[in-house]
């Protein structure tokens, strides 16, 4: 199965509070896998679990054939996985340039400038804001910076946690556009957690529906979008299983 | 070294230390162990109590002296008027007052009672004032504020002319009413030591009795609730800032009583005695070693550490040859490492905190089983 990621029988949570129950799914290489589900179903927890930010009680997470369950986050980052959290995903007190430099932490000095050049060319608005503090950016710009930060290391796999939350619809579309470009032009494997299920599934290749910390559906994004009970499950009118 | 070390446990001195420290560490346990207030300025209340104990029997005593005693002092001082209690004639004035107290046991007892009560009131007020600015803020701020208040008070009282400044004061003996009784039993030499011990022990026992009942009352439960989760306590209608202030007032009043008793026993005031190492950090170590939140544990911790301290003081010279350094520093090394080691190895202390219900457990078990 090569470069993709596969989650196997994961039980995870925070301390004693278990959120995920025996979750298994696979993430195909160079595709967008969308994780959807109602409030509190464990979507964000799933991403954090992949990145080693939760307590894993059981199960494995295979990346490039290697079990990364239980590894320290800063080590996972070095394997070529990047994570864009939903909130607090940029350093507000640092300038845009410092944010990008920060993202290149531990990389060879000689290529840092090129990489920063590379990512800012993807988001030209950022190059105009290089000396500004990140907390002066607008919501959309901030989200772009967050993605740019994650891109500096040229990750193979990117995890996005609700990147369009609290953004104006037009900006949200721009962000989803950018994510599509990452797949198409940069051949990056993507896991996207979205509250905005419709739009996310429209750009996605694969869909995973989490309900109550369990996988309720795994399959093509289209199939999930056309699933007759999706709306009802989303509104919490039907519990998983 | 074996046999004489047992001798220490027969001296009233050790037990006096245990009793006085028990008052302080138990009051700290009320604040920090039970309510979770990081009082790093415990010595503040002790200083205030000592100030009351040093000033009241002297300043008030001068006024109630009979005319002939006053005249005698004026003559001896060679001045036209009665010199101040804190003047250079302090020790002479104190002797006169002590003699007067010795011949009037009722006055002596009244002065003793008044001193203790005043110390408690002053302690409560100072506890309120010192914690008010930070009671609503994070515990770090409260800890720093209390420490700062205590240190500032120490410096001010060390320099205050009314307290004899850096020279300190000789304090008249307000325990003469008890000394006259004890001297008949243990002899004149030991009398004051023994009566100090009795007073300290009675007060400590009373406080222990009160605090033991407190943790077995709904109030104890409330205080633990404030410690465990402030947000939850507020949501359940508890004014946590006010509760913390009241607890600090109570804790400070008790520690202040300890300070006044200490002065009554030592009969000498010098501010530097009431430093943070002696009266705050040792008390913390006693509480942590014994078990935070457990009064009996704290009592045991107090006994152990007071004994160790006393042993080090007594056998300084005996252990000197075996140590590569001066044994006077052993105190600090023991205290410092103890605080850290206990936190690492047994954070709950010797006796962990126990659940204490106001109602008998048997009754609760029955109620739980009933359907």
């Amino acid at each position: 199965m090569g470069m993709g990621l596969s989650v196997r029988n994961i039980d995870a949570g925070y301390g004693k509070l278990q959120i995920l129950f025996n979750v298994s799914f696979t993430v195909p290489e160079r595709k967008i896998t969308v994780i959807v589900g109602p409030n509190g179903s464990g979507k964000s927890t799933m991403l954090k679990t992949i990145f080693g930010l939760t307590t894993i009680y059981k199960g494995e997470i295979l990346f490039e054939g290697r079990n990364i369950a239980g590894m320290a986050p800063h080590k996972i980052a070095k394997l070529g996985i990047a994570y864009v959290p939903q909130t607090d995903n940029v350093f507000g007190k640092l300038t845009v340039r410092e944010n990008l430099k920060m993202a290149a932490y531990g990389m060879d000095e000689s290529i840092v400038a090129d990489r920063i050049e590379e990512v800012t060319s993807m988001f030209p608005i950022l190059s105009e804001r290089m000396k500004q503090r990140a907390d002066t950016l607008s919501g959309g710009e901030r989200q772009m910076l967050a993605i740019a930060i994650a891109l500096v290391r040229r990750p193979k796999l990117m995890l996005f946690d609700e990147p369009t939350a609290a953004l104006a619809p037009k900006i949200a579309l721009e962000i989803l556009d950018a994510i599509q470009r990452l797949r198409d032009e940069h051949k990056i494997t993507i896991i996207l957690v979205e509250q905005n299920a419709k739009r996310a599934l429209e750009i996605g290749d694969k869909g995973v529906l989490l309900v109550g910390g369990k996988v309720a559906f795994e399959g093509g994004a289209r199939d999930l979008l056309e699933h007759p009970d999706l709306a009802r499950m989303y509104l919490g009118l039907m519990a998983g299983e | 070294m074996g046999l004489p070390s047992i001798g220490i446990f027969l001296t009233p001195e050790l037990w006096f230390w245990v009793a006085v420290y028990a008052i302080v560490s138990l009051s700290l346990n009320l604040e920090a162990g039970i309510t979770g207030i990081p009082n790093f300025g415990k010595h503040l209340a002790v200083i205030m109590g000592a100030i009351v104990g040093a000033a009241l029997p002297g300043y008030l005593g001068v006024h109630i002296l009979p005319e002939e005693a006053k005249q005698a002092i004026i003559e001896a001082a060679g001045k036209g008027s009665l010199p101040s209690y804190a003047s250079s004639y302090n020790s002479m004035i104190s002797t006169y007052i002590t003699n007067y107290y010795a011949s009037h046991p009722a006055v002596s007892f009244a002065m003793f009672a008044l001193t203790i009560i005043t110390a408690a009131v002053v302690g409560a007020i100072v506890g309120l004032l010192a914690s008010y600015p930070a009671a609503r803020l994070k515990e770090d701020y409260l800890a720093i504020t209390l420490l700062a208040a205590a240190e500032a008070t120490l410096i001010i009282s060390y320099n205050a002319p009314a307290l004899g400044g850096t020279q300190g004061l000789t304090v008249p003996n307000t325990l003469t009413w008890l000394d006259s009784l004890t001297s008949r039993i243990v002899g004149r030499n030991m009398a004051h030591q023994v009566s100090s011990l009795i007073v300290a022990a009675v007060v400590a026992a009373t406080i222990l009795w009160y605090l033991e009942r407190l943790v077995r009352s709904p109030m104890g439960r409330l205080l633990k609730g404030v410690r465990e989760n402030e947000a939850a306590a507020q949501a359940l209608g508890k004014n946590t800032a006010a509760i913390k202030l009241r607890t600090l007032m109570m804790g400070s009043a008790l520690a202040s009583i300890a300070g006044s008793i200490f002065i009554m026993a030592t009969l000498g005031w010098i501010a530097t005695t009431y430093n943070r190492v002696s009266w705050t950090f040792w008390a913390w170590a006693m509480m942590i070693l014994g078990g935070m939140g457990n009064n009996r544990g704290v009592l045991l911790g107090t006994f152990i550490l007071a004994s160790i301290r006393q042993l080090i003081t007594y056998y300084k010279d005996a252990i000197r040859p075996y140590l590569p350094f001066d044994p006077v520093w052993l105190d600090q090394l023991v205290l410092g490492s103890l605080l850290v080691v206990v936190l690492m190895l047994r954070p709950e202390g010797i006796f962990a905190e126990k659940t204490t219900y106001p109602l008998p457990r048997k009754m609760l078990e029955d109620k739980a089983a009933a359907r």
């Binding site: 919490g236 519990a239 | 465990e228 306590a233 109602l359």
Partner: protein, 289 residues
């Protein structure tokens, strides 16, 4: 006699009275069903709260009828919990008012709100960790005569009350199914049990209005039904009002009287449960459009 009083006495016309009632009752005059004034226990008026640049609650005005079970739904980040935090006094609003029984309680601290009968639970349970389950519940009791420093000296003044409260606490613990764990430290409970404990405490408080943040999230369906049935019983028998944030509508639906839906800090729908969940705006807010 001050100016306002004189003004009242001087011209006691119907309009004046209505104005006064508006001022006192927060504009709830004459909106009732069948000609009677509606009994609104909680109302918010243009409540607004922002953090930095983000407006978390944006001009929310809603009403909770006395004796109802009113639900607040909305997708993640729609501002539900922030609204609850503002109403329950944990945050101060930037703008707007909170009215409780017609009284302006905007910005009151939580313990004062508790005093007038408003109590809340937390989404993430907030137990007193080292205290036992029974102690946790007992701490919620109102005006306990033993919660003073004089208590140890006057045991007789509170002992009987304590016993009554213990009985009541056990009754509630049995109800939520925690009675067998009464002597357990609350910090050792499982997540679901902590949730139950949170509810037990709220019940113990004897509040008139309970604000609950996701009371049945993380609780198994059978138990969730039991809790909701119990809440309904309390509502009917004791007349307690419940204002609940919840997303598990499958279970909650049939117990609910009225639903508000929020998205992006604003109210987007209100009405009977069936109306609200079939409202395309609400479905869109969940699924995205």
């Amino acid at each position: 006699m001050n100016a306002a009083k004189r003004w009242l006495v001087w011209k006691p016309s119907w309009t004046r009275l209505k104005c006064c009632a508006l001022a006192l009752g927060g504009g709830r005059w004459g909106r009732g069903v069948g000609g009677e004034p509606a009994d609104i226990i909680l109302a918010t008026e243009s409540l607004t709260k922002s953090f930095g640049g983000l407006v978390a609650v944006d001009g929310v005005s809603l009403e909770v009828r006395r004796g109802s079970l009113t639900l607040l739904i909305g997708p993640n980040g729609s501002g539900k919990t922030t609204l609850l935090n503002v109403v329950s006094g944990f945050y101060k609003p930037d703008y707007g008012r909170v009215l409780y029984e017609g009284r302006d309680v905007t910005g009151w601290p939580p313990y004062k709100l508790y005093g007038i009968g408003m109590v809340r639970t937390f989404q993430v349970p907030q137990p007193f960790y080292k205290l036992t389950v029974l102690e946790n519940v007992l701490l919620a009791s109102r005006n306990h005569p033993g919660e003073y420093f004089r208590a140890p000296l006057a045991k007789s003044s509170w002992l009987r009350r304590e016993e009554e409260l213990v009985d009541r606490a056990f009754e509630i613990l049995r109800l939520v199914g925690l009675a067998h764990l009464w002597d357990h430290p609350a910090g050792l409970l499982s997540g679901g049990q902590m949730k139950l404990l949170e509810i037990a405490r709220a019940l113990m408080s004897g509040a008139k209005l309970m604000l609950m943040d996701e009371p049945i999230a993380g609780v198994n369906p059978t138990l969730a039904h039991e809790i909701l049935r119990f809440i309904t019983r309390l509502k009917e028998e004791k007349g307690i009002t419940f204002f609940i944030i919840e997303h598990r509508l499958d279970i909650a639906m049939k117990y609910v009287d009225y639903v508000y839906a929020m998205a992006r800090g604003r109210l987007i729908a209100k009405g009977k449960p069936e109306e609200v969940v079939s409202n395309p705006l609400v479905i869109d807010s969940y699924l995205g459009g």
